[in-house]
C-alpha cells in the first residue's frame, strides 16, 4: 500500500463510528452456591466443593439461594435498574463438559430486573449508558487441559452470577472501559462482587459493530468473548473496530460471529459463525417456582446500599475541597474511603486538637497507602492491615503538634503497621519525641559551633548555604529528633547575634 492510499484509507476511517454494547458476568459474594448448599469458594482441590445438585446427578433439584437473590437485587438497585417483582428462571440448553446438567439455570423472558442506566465519565466527558437488564444465573465448571487430556473441575459449577447487559450506547473502547470500571467499582463497593478479572469472577463480552457516521441502522456485530483485563478490553475493541472498518473499506462484508481475543498477537479471531451459533432452546425452569419479591424486601435491600463511589467523589470535592486526584485515589477502594471518612469523624469528636481535612487526605494518600505498599508480603489495601483509625489520627496529631517531626512520623507509621502498637508507645519506647527544649538545643548547637569553627566563620561572613549544614549537624546529633522549627529559630538567633 502506498502512502497515498494509506492516507485515503485513514481519512475514510474517520467517517465511521463504533457502536459497542457490553455483557458483564459477575460472580456474587455469597457463602454458598446459587442452587445448592456447597461453599462458594475459589482455589480448592478440584471437585471438592460439589454435591448431587451442582454435579447434575440424576434426581437432583435446584433450590434458590436467597442471599444470591439479595445481592442481585442490590446490584440492580445500585445500577438504577427496575426490579421486577415477579421473575422466572429459565433453562439455557447446550452441551459442554463443564456444564453438568446440559443446561444452565438462568433467566430469559422475565429477568429479576430491567431498564436501568449508569453514568460514566471518559476524558472529562459525562455520558449515560443505558442498561437493558440484570439477571441471575449460575456459573459453569472449568476445563483443565493437560497434554492431550482434558479434566473437568466442577467446584465453580453453580456459583451465583449476575449478567448485566448494556444497550449499545458506547462509541469507543475508552468508553467501554470507563463503563466497566464504574460498574466494577459499584459492585465491589457494595460487597456484591470481588471484581477480580484475572480469576474470572468479573468477565466481559463485547458486542462491537461500526457504521458510517449519520447512519441510523446498526452495522452487523461481532461478539468478542471473555477478555480478562481492562487493558485487553480496550485493545481488543480497538483492534475489532479497526478490523471492521478496514474490511468494509476494502469492499468486504462483516459477518455476525463470535470472536476470541488473542492478547499475545493483539488480534481477534473467529470462533464460530452465526450458522454454528447455539440454539439454546430457552424455556421456563420447571424445577423452580417464580421468584416473587415484595416491596418490603426491596426496600430493605435498598436501605442496605451504601454511598456509591461517584457520589463520594462529588461530596469529597464539594465538602472538603479536595482535588479530583485526591477524590479518585480515596474512593478507588471502598475500605480506603470508609477509613478516610472514619478519620474525619475522629477528628470531629476528639478534644486533643483539630487537623485540616486536606492534611488528613494527604496523610492517607501519601503516607498510609505508600507505607502499605512498601510492606513486603502483606497484601496491600486489605482492611485488616490498616492501623486503628484512632491510632492513625493520633499519629497525625503527634506530627501536626510538633511532638515528632514528619520523618519520624513515617518511621512510627511503619512500626505501627508491622506491630500494631500505638504511636505514643512507639515514640516512648524508641525515644523518638522531638527535642524542643531550648536550653538543650542551645547547648547542642554551641557544641557544634565549637567543633566546626571554620564553617561557622564562613557562614557569618555570608556563605548562607552553610545554614543547612548546621541544621543537618543538629539532626545528626539528636538522631533526627530535634524540632526543625526550633533548630531554625535558635540557629538564626545565634548567627544574627554573631553577625552583630
Amino acid at each position: 500500500m502506498n502512502n497515498n492510499n494509506y492516507n485515503e484509507l485513514h481519512d475514510a476511517s474517520h467517517s465511521f463510528e463504533a457502536v459497542i454494547g457490553l455483557e458483564v458476568h459477575s460472580q456474587l459474594l455469597t457463602k454458598t452456591k446459587m442452587f445448592c448448599s456447597c461453599q462458594n469458594i475459589f482455589g480448592k482441590e478440584p471437585n471438592s466443593m460439589v454435591c448431587p445438585v451442582c454435579l447434575g446427578l440424576p434426581g437432583a433439584l435446584p433450590v434458590i439461594n436467597f442471599e444470591g437473590v439479595r445481592l442481585a437485587v442490590k446490584a440492580a438497585l445500585a445500577l438504577n435498574i427496575n426490579i421486577n417483582k415477579k421473575s422466572l428462571f429459565a433453562r439455557k440448553n447446550y452441551f459442554y463438559p463443564d456444564l453438568p446438567k446440559g443446561y444452565q439455570i438462568s433467566q430469559y423472558l422475565d429477568p429479576v430486573s430491567s431498564n436501568g442506566y449508569l453514568n460514566i465519565e471518559t476524558d472529562g466527558v459525562e455520558k449515560r449508558i443505558r442498561i437493558n437488564r440484570l439477571h441471575i444465573e449460575e456459573d459453569a465448571g472449568k476445563l483443565i487441559h493437560i497434554g492431550s487430556e482434558s479434566y473437568v473441575d466442577l467446584n465453580r459449577a453453580g456459583t451465583p452470577l449476575v449478567e448485566i447487559v448494556s444497550e449499545p450506547d458506547m462509541s469507543s473502547a475508552k468508553e467501554a472501559v470507563s463503563y466497566l470500571k464504574e460498574l466494577r467499582d459499584i459492585l465491589v463497593y457494595q460487597g456484591i462482587s470481588d471484581g477480580n478479572m484475572e480469576e474470572g469472577s468479573f468477565r466481559c463480552d463485547a458486542n462491537v459493530s461500526v457504521r458510517r457516521k449519520g447512519d441510523e441502522k446498526l452495522g452487523t456485530r461481532a461478539e468478542i468473548k471473555n477478555v480478562n483485563s481492562f487493558k485487553f478490553v480496550e485493545k481488543a475493541i480497538d483492534y475489532e473496530i479497526g478490523r471492521q472498518i478496514d474490511l468494509i473499506l476494502s469492499g468486504g462484508n462483516i459477518i455476525q460471529e463470535t470472536r476470541l481475543y488473542d492478547s499475545k498477537e493483539n488480534v481477534t479471531r473467529s470462533m464460530r459463525g452465526k450458522e454454528e451459533a447455539h440454539d439454546y432452546r430457552y424455556f421456563e425452569e420447571p424445577d423452580l417456582p417464580p421468584l416473587i419479591l415484595d416491596e418490603e424486601f426491596i426496600e430493605k435491600v435498598k436501605n442496605s446500599i451504601s454511598e456509591l463511589p461517584q457520589s463520594k467523589r462529588k461530596r469529597y470535592a464539594d465538602e472538603y475541597a479536595l482535588t479530583s486526584y485526591d477524590c479518585e485515589v480515596l474512593t478507588q477502594d471502598k475500605n480506603i474511603a470508609y477509613y478516610f471518612e472514619d478519620l474525619i469523624k475522629v477528628n470531629a469528636v476528639n478534644n486533643k486538637g483539630k487537623v485540616e481535612i486536606k492534611k488528613i487526605a494527604n496523610w492517607v494518600i501519601n503516607d498510609l497507602l505508600f507505607a502499605l505498599k512498601g510492606i513486603e508480603n502483606q497484601p496491600a489495601l486489605k482492611k485488616g492491615n490498616m492501623p486503628e483509625q484512632e491510632d492513625f489520627f493520633n499519629l497525625i496529631l503527634e506530627v501536626e503538634t510538633g511532638n515528632i517531626n514528619k520523618n519520624t512520623g513515617k518511621i512510627v507509621l511503619t512500626e505501627m503497621l508491622l506491630t500494631g502498637k500505638k504511636p505514643a508507645d512507639i515514640i516512648k519506647e524508641k525515644n523518638l519525641a522531638q527535642v524542643s527544649d531550648e536550653k538543650g538545643l542551645e547547648g547542642i548547637i554551641k557544641q557544634i559551633f565549637d567543633e566546626n569553627s571554620k564553617e561557622l566563620t564562613d557562614l557569618i561572613s555570608g556563605k548562607d548555604k552553610l545554614f543547612g549544614f548546621f541544621v543537618g549537624e543538629v539532626m545528626k546529633k539528636t538522631k533526627g529528633k530535634a524540632n526543625p522549627k526550633k533548630v531554625n529559630e535558635i540557629l538564626k538567633n545565634f548567627i544574627e547575634e554573631k553577625k552583630n
Binding site: L57, P58, G59, L61, V63, P97, P100, R281, L288
Partner: protein, 500 residues
C-alpha cells in the same frame, strides 16, 4: 404359612401382636419372588440380603416398642427411578447401566425412617416413557392376569409386583398415567397425589412439571398408609408445598357409605366418547349407579379442553424431557461408549454414548422435545401447549365448583397384548387419554379396581378394569374415602386373583 398375600395393614396387625416376625414375612416374599418372578419379570434386581437385614432391624424395633410406624418391617418394591444410596439405579436405561446412586431420594429417606424393608427395584419403561413397560432396555414384564399381555406402564413392574404378591406395596411415579394405568391393568390400587405433595428429590426426572411420585397398593387403606409415609414439604424440592399432613389411614378407616349421601359426582362427557371399550363403559356405569344408590347426586359435566390434553402433554413432556436428559452425556457418570478408539471429537463421544445408551422411544421423545423448543417453533408448540394447559386447569377448576369428585375410566382398554402397540406410538399414547389431563392440572387421582372383563385370548380368563377418581387440589383424603366405600361394595380382592 404363606405370608406373601397380605395387605400392609394385615402385616402390621400380625407384627403388632407379635404373631410373626418381619423376617418371616420377608422370607415368604423372597421365596415367592424366586418362584414367580422368573415368569412375571416385575423386578430388575433384588437384594435379598439387604431385605433380610432390613427385616431384622425392623424386628428389633418392633420388639422394643409397642408403637411403630405402619411400614415397619413391610417389604416394599421401588420403581427403578428412585435413587437409593449405594444401589444401582438404571431407570431401565442402558445409559445408566453402571450407575450406583451416591445418595437417597427424599422418599427413600422417609421410608427408611419408617423402617421399611427394601425388597427390590422394579422394571419400567425406560426413563418412564411408555405405557406398557415394553420400553425397558432390560426385560419385558408380564401382566399377572395374562402372561401374554402387558402390565401397563411406565410403572408396570411396580403394578405387577403388587398384583402378583411379590411385595406388599410399591412406590412408582406418574407423569401422564404411569401409576394409574398399570394399576388399572393389573387390578390394584394406584394413587397419583397432587403435584408437589411428595418430594421429587432423588427421583430421575422425565418431565419435571408433570412427574409425581405415588403409590401402588393392594387396597385403599394400604395406599393411604403408604401415602402418609411419603408426603410432606422437602427443602430440597422447591415445588413441594408446606401443607398440613393429614392422617390418611385414620380418615380411610372412618370412611362410611352413609357419607355418600349428597356427594356430587361429576361424569365428564369427554371421558365416555369414542375409543372407550364398551365393556369398560358398562363397568364404570355400574359404579355410577352404585353411588347413586348410596345417595350421591350424579352431575354430567364437560371438560371441553381435555381433548387437547394428549397433544399438549406430548409437547410439554417431551420438551422438558429433552432438557432433563441432556445430563446423560457419558462424561461424568453412566455409560460412556468410547470403546471405538476412532472417536475424533467430543461431539462424537456425546453422539455415540447417547446413540447406544438411549432406546428408541426415548430418542423419539428427545427429538420431539428438542424440535418443540427450537428457535422459531417455541411459540407454535411449547407456548401454545402451556396455554392449553392453563385452559385445562380452568376446566377442572370450574367443574369442581359444582362437583366434589369426578369419576371416569382409567384406561380406554383392559391390558393389551405384548407387542400390540409397539409399532404404533400414537395408539400407545392414547392409552393414557384419560389420565394425562390430570397431570397437566396438577390434581390428585386414584385408580381403583372395580371388576373385570372377559379375556378374549384366554379361555376363562379375566382382565381387571380400573375406575378413576379425580378430586380437587390436595384433597387426597376425599379420593381415598370415596374409593374405600366403593372398594367395600365391589370386593374386588375377594373375587379376583391373578392366575399364573
Amino acid at each position: 404359612m404363606d405370608l406373601s398375600n397380605l395387605t400392609i395393614h394385615q402385616i402390621n396387625d400380625l407384627l403388632k401382636c407379635r404373631e410373626v416376625k418381619s423376617v418371616d414375612i420377608t422370607d415368604s416374599y423372597i421365596k415367592r419372588i424366586k418362584e414367580i418372578d422368573p415368569i412375571i419379570s416385575a423386578y430388575l434386581y433384588n437384594d435379598f440380603e439387604e431385605a433380610l437385614s432390613n427385616a431384622e432391624d425392623a424386628d428389633k424395633i418392633i420388639q422394643k416398642n409397642s408403637d411403630f410406624p405402619y411400614l415397619t418391617g413391610v417389604p416394599l418394591s421401588i420403581k427403578d427411578i428412585f435413587l437409593i444410596k449405594g444401589k444401582r439405579t438404571t431407570c431401565a436405561s442402558k445409559i445408566l447401566d453402571n450407575f450406583i446412586s451416591p445418595y437417597d431420594a427424599t422418599v427413600i429417606k422417609r421410608l427408611k425412617k419408617n423402617n421399611y424393608v427394601f425388597i427390590g427395584k422394579t422394571n419400567m419403561d425406560e426413563f418412564a416413557m411408555g405405557s406398557s413397560t415394553e420400553n425397558s432396555a432390560y426385560k419385558i414384564t408380564k401382566n399377572p392376569y395374562d402372561l401374554n399381555r402387558v402390565p401397563g406402564g411406565s410403572s408396570g413392574g411396580s403394578a405387577a409386583s403388587v398384583s402378583a404378591d411379590l411385595c406388599a406395596g410399591s412406590f412408582g411415579t406418574d407423569t401422564g398415567g404411569s401409576i394409574r394405568q398399570p394399576a388399572s391393568l393389573c387390578g390394584v390400587v394406584g394413587l397419583k397425589p397432587t403435584y408437589g405433595l411428595i418430594s421429587r428429590y432423588g427421583i430421575i426426572a422425565f418431565s419435571s412439571s408433570l412427574d409425581q411420585a405415588g403409590v401402588i397398593a393392594n387396597d385403599v387403606l394400604d395406599a393411604a398408609i403408604m401415602l402418609k409415609a411419603a408426603v410432606g414439604f422437602d427443602e430440597k424440592d422447591q415445588t413441594t408445598r408446606k401443607l398440613e399432613i393429614k392422617n390418611y389411614p385414620e380418615i380411610v378407616k372412618k370412611a362410611d357409605k352413609l357419607t355418600m349421601k349428597g356427594l356430587k359426582v361429576g361424569i365428564p362427557v369427554e371421558f365416555f366418547s369414542e375409543g372407550l371399550d364398551p365393556k369398560i363403559y358398562l363397568k364404570i356405569m355400574e359404579i355410577k349407579d352404585l353411588l347413586k344408590g348410596l345417595g350421591a347426586s350424579i352431575v354430567d359435566i364437560s371438560l371441553p379442553d381435555t381433548k387437547y390434553s394428549v397433544a399438549a402433554y406430548y409437547v410439554i413432556a417431551t420438551s422438558e424431557a429433552s432438557s432433563n436428559l441432556e445430563r446423560y452425556d457419558g462424561i461424568r457418570f453412566g455409560s460412556r461408549f468410547n470403546e471405538d478408539k476412532n472417536l475424533q471429537s467430543l461431539d462424537e463421544l456425546y453422539k455415540k454414548s447417547r446413540e447406544l445408551g438411549f432406546g428408541k422411544e426415548v430418542k423419539r421423545r428427545i427429538i420431539l422435545g428438542t424440535f418443540a423448543l427450537s428457535a422459531g417453533y417455541y411459540d407454535a408448540y411449547y407456548k401454545k401447549a402451556s396455554l392449553v394447559r392453563k385452559l385445562i386447569i380452568k376446566n377442572y377448576k370450574d367443574s369442581f365448583n359444582n362437583v366434589d369428585i369426578i369419576l371416569g375410566p382409567t384406561s380406554p382398554t383392559p391390558a393389551f397384548l405384548i407387542g400390540e402397540k409397539m409399532s404404533d406410538p400414537l395408539s400407545m399414547y392414547l392409552s393414557d387419554i384419560y389420565t394425562i389431563s390430570i397431570n397437566l392440572a396438577y390434581l390428585p387421582a386414584l385408580s381403583l379396581p372395580i371388576g373385570a372383563v372377559e379375556n378374549p385370548t384366554k379361555k376363562g380368563g379375566v382382565l381387571p378394569v380400573g375406575l378413576q377418581l379425580i378430586s380437587p387440589w390436595a384433597t387426597e383424603e376425599r379420593l381415598l374415602s370415596v374409593a374405600k366405600v366403593i372398594e367395600d361394595e365391589v370386593k374386588f380382592r375377594e373375587k379376583y386373583t391373578p392366575v399364573m
